[in-house]
Amino acid sequence: MLNDLAIEARGLTRYFDSRMVVSDFDLSIPRGSVTGLLGLNGAGKTTTLRILMGLLAPTRGESYLLGKNSQCLTPDDRARIGYTVEGHFLYGWMTVRQSEKFHRETFPRWNAGMFDATVRRFGIEPSQKIRHLSRGQKAGVSLALTMAAEPELLVLDDPALGLDPVSRLALNETLLDFCDGGTKTILLSSHLLDDVERVADRVAVMVHGRLVVNTTVDDFRSRVSSWAIEHSPATRGVESIPGLVHSRQLGGKTVVTLADCDQETEAALTRIGGATCERLPITFDEAVIAYLSRSRESHSFLSSNSKRGQERMALD
C-alpha cells in the first residue's frame, strides 16, 4: 500500500440483486490532487463513493482511503475524511451557529475560523435559520461543516447540484483554498464540466459502472481528438475506426471523436474520409460528452470495436 495514494480501489464490483451497478472499478488518486468523477445519472458514481466511504460493502474488490481499508474505517480515520452527500441533510429549525455547535461535538479538531470564512463566502450569517437559507447556502453550510473538521481528504457527492452561479463560484473558491497547501486531496462527482475543468487536475469518467477514463485533465485533452468527415457510402465504416469514442451526424458531415489517435487510426480515417477529413478543435466538455453520449447509445448499434478507445483510455 503506497502512502502517496489518497484513494485506491481495486476491482470494486457491486451488484444490487442481479443488477450490476459498479463493475471492476480500479482507481488510484494521488495525494494533493483534485479529481472530478463524471458520468451520467445512474452510472454508479454515488454507489462507488458510498463503497469508498465504507457505507456500502462491495460484492467483490477492495478499496483504501488514506491507506485504510474502506470497510474497516475507525472513527479516527473518519475524522480525517470529509464526506458530503447529495442533498445536504441539515436541521431546518437550527441556526447556522447551532448547527456548527451540534456538529463540532463529533470531531476531534474544529477550525472555527474556517467555518465562519466558508459560510460568509456563501453570503450566510451564522445567526440565520437553516430553513430560511437557499439551496446554495445550505450547500455552503454543509461544506463549511465538513471543512471545519480539517480533513485530509474530501469526498463530495455532487456538491454543485442545483447551485446558482454565485454559490458555484464560492464552492470552487472553497475547494481550491482547501487544497492550497498541495497535500490535501479532493474527489468530487459533478455534472458541471466547466467547473471541473477549472478546479480539477484529474478526471475520471464512469460509464455503466465502469471507469473508462482516469487521467490528468491535460492528458485527457491531448489524447481525445475530433474529426469531421463528409458523407459518402464509406462513412458507414466509421464504427470500425480504432479508438472510436463516439460519432454523430452534423449537417452533411459525420463528426467522430477518437481516443489516442495514432498512425493506424489516421490511416483508417483517411480510408473512410479521404481528402475531406478535417481535424476539429475540441473542448474539454465536448470530449467528456463524447464519452457520455456513446454510453447512452451503446445498447443500440455500436460494435465491440468501439470499446477499444475506452479500454486504452482506462489504462492509466
Binding site: 481550491l176 483554498d177 477549472r198 487536475d201 473542448t283 466538455d285
Partner: protein
C-alpha cells in the same frame, strides 16, 4: 497585465495562460525583470487549480520566457536564446507551415498574407523598423 481565461475553450487553460504571458512579453507589456503573480496568487484570482498555473509557468521557464527566483517567485527573463539557430528556425518553420496552409485553405493570396503579416508586426512591434 490582466490574464483572462475561459473554460469550455478548445485551448486548455494552461495554454491560454502561457500564450497570454508570451504575448505580453513580446509586445513589451511585460518588461524584463518584471515580477508576475505567484502560482497561488494567479490560481486564486482566476479560480483555477494551481497545478494548471504551475504547468504554464513551467513551460515558460523551460522556454526561457520566465525565470524562477528563489523566494521571489517568477520574473520575466532576460531575453537569451536558449535554442540554437537551427532549432529556432525549425520552430519558426513549423509555425509558418501551418500559417501558410491555413491561409491557402482560406483562399488568401501570397501578397495578401504578406501584407497582413507586416501590418500585424507593425501593430505588435511598432518600434522595430521593417523593410
Amino acid at each position: 497585465m490582466q490574464i483572462r481565461i475561459s473554460v469550455g475553450n478548445p485551448q486548455s487553460i494552461y495554454r491560454q495562460i502561457a500564450d497570454q504571458i508570451r504575448r505580453a512579453v513580446v509586445t513589451g507589456e511585460l518588461s524584463v525583470g518584471e515580477a508576475i503573480p505567484s502560482v497561488r496568487q494567479l490560481a486564486k484570482e482566476l479560480v483555477i487549480n494551481p497545478n494548471t498555473v504551475a504547468k504554464a509557468y513551467g513551460e515558460l521557464t523551460r522556454d526561457g520566457v520566465l525565470e524562477g527566483q528563489p523566494g521571489r517567485g517568477y520574473i520575466v527573463a532576460n531575453r537569451k536564446n536558449i535554442y540554437t539557430k537551427t532549432e529556432r528556425l525549425r520552430r519558426l518553420d513549423q509555425v509558418l507551415d501551418s500559417l501558410v496552409s491555413e491561409a491557402i485553405t482560406l483562399g488568401f493570396s501570397g501578397d495578401e498574407l504578406l501584407e497582413r503579416l507586416s501590418k500585424r508586426l507593425e501593430k505588435l512591434l511598432p518600434d522595430q523598423s521593417l523593410p
